[in-house]
């Protein structure tokens, strides 16, 4: 490995000052304003000549009154209190926090895309329809599916959409099915979506290898099973090697297989859910396709399906009709799942990412994501053993059980201490089936030097666990705030400035 400094460590140090940032309300002085509007030249009218008086609010809603300079200062300072991929490695398992190309941001900023009204007739938005139709085609090619909807705004919305498609499919065949199976390792959105889809959850336990227990699954199957939700690789980062057998078993009872695509990064361009036997696939474009996560969104969660489900997809869809595009609803569409056409600018970003990579580039993405995770797993084996000691896919779940029992240092302490070293923490305490879980997903865009620096930082933390465990309970220190009292926040909810008693 080349001797170079790691590019992914946020080793930036204090800029200056030592105080918390006031809220915009604390900065506000009534009478100030930053807003500037067009001069319309329209004759002013009194509000009460336009709107019946009893509708008018006698008191203005107070927002925050700031000069532009202070608004800029406030928000810029807030950004200096925020970690991000652009500042350093973000190995948050299950979240695929890879580098988000600035190119895709530039694409989304083009007024030719961003200034188009969603309700304009198709004849005035042919570019958008072409873009969406192309993306649909690319996503189908990548998943081995026949058709897709781009409407769902995030992964969980995709899940629920997929379950409604499952329901529509069975109902169309006159079948009443009531249960959906999910493994105990599943992400929390899966069971929640199942409930909202009107199904009961049947949980199957994982076996000692961290995989679906095929016997337990077979035992749980029956004619009342609508389907199964899986992610493959699963949430412990392992590939369900018996996926063909699982698919056959579920299909045998007439059930459908749903693929939670949050982990698609491990296999994109290398393995297709369709080829594994899945019928419905959602993708988190904000993970695999690097659309930035925005501090918690927006994302996009398109759902692709095999041909037997295509007619049920939400609509309308951008559809090529001879030499142009039209909005067409699938014949038995379940209806809309979004107010308009989905998170369009996120979709545009994802298509740009896909086109730059192509088939070859996306396969390299998966290969290097898996390489990085395995390297890290092996590198850390001596100090933080993997929950399942086998080659992993794009992420690895390690366990701090030994640290906890020996030194009283928990996964959370390790995570907090890692932030002092310039890295974001891994995901902790997920999946629930692993004790003291630390789930690392380095992603393919971190360099070997960054991985080594991350591993060294963890080594030094584990060393500190034996020497000075108290320092880990006190971590982090070099962050804008020290460890935060989460219990207090829940006990006395202060969710707005107005509730704050000061």
């Amino acid at each position: 490995m080349a001797k170079a400094q790691p590019g992914g460590r946020a080793a930036s140090i204090p800029l200056m000052g030592h105080e918390v940032e006031p809220t915009m309300f604390e900065l506000s002085v009534r009478g100030r304003s930053a807003a500037q509007f067009r001069t319309t030249g329209i004759e002013p009218r009194a509000l009460d000549t336009m709107v019946p008086a009893h509708h008018l609010n006698p008191e203005p809603v107070i927002t925050a009154d700031l000069a532009e300079r202070d608004l800029v200062g406030h928000v810029t300072r807030l950004t200096h209190r925020q970690f991000s991929v652009d500042l350093g490695a973000y190995p948050l398992g299950s979240c695929t926090m890879k580098y988000n190309p600035k190119f895709c941001d530039a694409i989304a900023a083009d007024p030719g895309l961003s200034s188009v009204h969603p309700g304009a007739p198709a004849s005035l938005s042919q570019g958008w329809l072409a873009l969406l139709a192309t993306l649909e085609q690319r996503l189908c090619a990548l998943t081995g599916m026949a058709a897709a909807t781009l409407q769902p705004a995030a992964g969980a919305a995709g899940e629920l959409t997929g379950l409604l498609l499952m329901r529509a499919y069975h109902e169309a065949r006159g079948e009443v099915r009531t249960r959906v199976i999910i493994p105990d390792s599943a992400h929390g959105t899966n069971p929640a979506s199942v409930t909202l889809g009107g199904y009961e959850v049947t949980t199957v336990a994982s076996n000692e290898r961290g995989l679906v227990d095929l016997d337990a699954l077979r035992a749980a199957l029956g004619p009342d099973v609508a389907g199964i939700m899986l992610t493959n690789p699963n949430t412990v980062g392992l590939f369900e090697e018996q996926i063909t057998e699982i698919a056959a078993a579920v299909h045998d009872v007439g059930g459908l297989l749903y693929y939670d695509g949050a982990n698609l990064n491990a296999i994109v361009g290398v393995v297709r859910p369709g080829d594994m036997g899945f019928d419905i696939v959602h993708m988190n474009l904000h993970k695999t396709f690097a659309t930035p996560h925005g501090g918690g969104g927006p994302g996009a969660g398109p759902v692709a399906v095999s041909s037997r489900l295509a007619d049920f997809l939400p609509g309308p869809k951008a559809t090529r009709v001879e030499d142009h595009y039209e909005w067409v609803s699938p014949v038995r569409s379940i209806g809309r799942v979004h107010g308009w056409h989905g998170n369009a600018l996120v979709l545009a970003r994802a298509l740009a990412y896909i086109e730059v990579h192509g088939a070859d580039g996306l396969a390299r993405v998966a290969q290097h994501a898996v390489l990085n995770a395995n390297w890290l797993r092996r590198r850390l084996a001596a100090i933080l053993p993997a929950a399942y000691d086998r080659p992993c896919m794009h992420e690895c779940v390690l366990s701090a059980t030994a640290l906890k029992s020996t030194y009283g240092v928990r996964a959370l302490d390790v995570a907090k201490a890692l932030m002092d070293e310039g890295f974001h923490a891994p995901t902790v305490y997920f999946p629930l089936i692993v004790d003291e879980a630390l789930m690392f997903e380095p992603t393919e865009t971190e360099s070997p030097q960054t991985l080594e620096a991350l591993a060294s930082a963890l080594e030094s933390i584990v060393e500190r666990a034996s020497n000075d465990p108290a320092s880990l309970h006190a971590a982090p220190e070099h962050t804008p705030v020290s460890r935060v009292d989460e219990a207090r926040a829940a006990r006395t909810l202060i969710a707005t400035e107005d509730a704050a008693s000061r």
Binding site: V20, S33, T39, T40, I42, V51, N57, V61, I62, T63, A64, D65, E68, L71, Q82, F83, S84, D110, S114, V116, H117, P118, G119, A120, L124, A130, L131, A141, G188, T189, P191, S193, E241, V270, V271, H293, G295, G296, G297, P298, R336, G339, W340, A344, L345, E355, V356, H357, A359, D360, V365, W375, K416, P448, V484, D485, A489, A495, T496, D498
Partner: protein, 454 residues
Amino acid sequence: MADYLAHTPEEVASMLAFLGLTSLDELFMHIAPAVRLAAGNELPTGRSEPDVAQDFARYGRANRATGGSLVCFAGGGAYDHEVPAVVRSLASRSEFVTAYTPYQPEVAQGVLQALFEYQTLVSRLSGLPIANASLYDGATALVEGLNLAAAATGRSTMVISSGVHPHWRSVVRTFARGTGHRVVEVPLVDGVSDWSTVDVDQAAAVVVAYPNYLGVIEEMDVAARHAKDLGALFVVAGDPVAAGVLRTAGQWGADVFVGEGQAFGTALSFGGPYLGLFAVAREHVRRLPGRIVGETVDTNGRRAFVTTLRAREQDIRREKATSNVCTNQTLMAITAAIQLGWLGTDGLRQVGIASATGAHALFEALGDVAGVEPLTRAPFLREFAIRLARPADEVIAAMANDGVLAGLAVSSLTGGADGSIDGDASRVLLVAVTERRTSEELDQYVESMRKAVR
């Protein structure tokens, strides 16, 4: 050929060697060959950024974007309000853009505080004490509102005014397939909800839009009374821009406020990403969908913010969670907070007043145009519907040639017959005016309409 990887071939080789492997393919060897892609998928090979940029420039040119060459009078839930450079520049700071959901508060105070400020603003706009940290969009926020109402009341009948945006009602019907909710749509008469027709004893929710999607300012006390009578939660689908001038949902007695926040700093964006606003009365806080940020302190007693009440969320409650929402629209929420900080109290009010002034001026000027009739005489704010002598889509197409996006054809929203319009919906045009429209643009509209409608 392009990618964003760092690894040199030598580095890959050395990493593989560390793992006892000799090729990247071996990393996938435990996957059955039948399942591995042999021939490759049907994707083209990769191309460079500047090559791909040309495709997208073509997509862009194949659209008629609003702005220079197309003056926007379309609304229907997506508005051409002022978005200043300062808001765009702040909201695109990479610390916000490239962060994940704030799971580690110690390094996420930027996003968390911005969301706290956003929640405060949504609470004030809605007149309700608790707001969440955003939902996907207005339509899905309404679904979450109904789910909350069902859980709170133990009932499943949803009484919804047809003044609620047709797309939102479509979304509600879609998700009702899973929840099993019964959706009762209340027709409009002359643009106003006619609650008298509702034949229901009790309901989980009564939903009214304020103003409704045709622009009409509904009589809220009637709707509120109706909700009370049915023992239902009163859910207001409110236009947050109206909050600059109209009474808030809370002032009308709402239990739940849902709304679309695009108007605050987000470009038209072909419909997304937008922003689902959500606020509730205090008693519903434990059923609040999505995330909520709360204030607390750190170990040094300094004020700090953190995602709280996580016990409601699906990662803990799993199948019993109140909602499945995980990723939301944080960046749009932050954008809205910045935009509202830019607008200020007076600016927000000014947007409402100037939009209304333009809308009323245009409405009156169209009174002189033969072939144009108001759909209703009910009061409106910045949007109104007119009945044309010709199909609305033909008029839109004709006016686009004059550089005017005339509005939305109501039938393109309703997709056919709908309780919101009596008679032929295909001739009804929905027209929106924002504070960005000038007197010359109104004149241009009227002139173009005069030609187009005959």
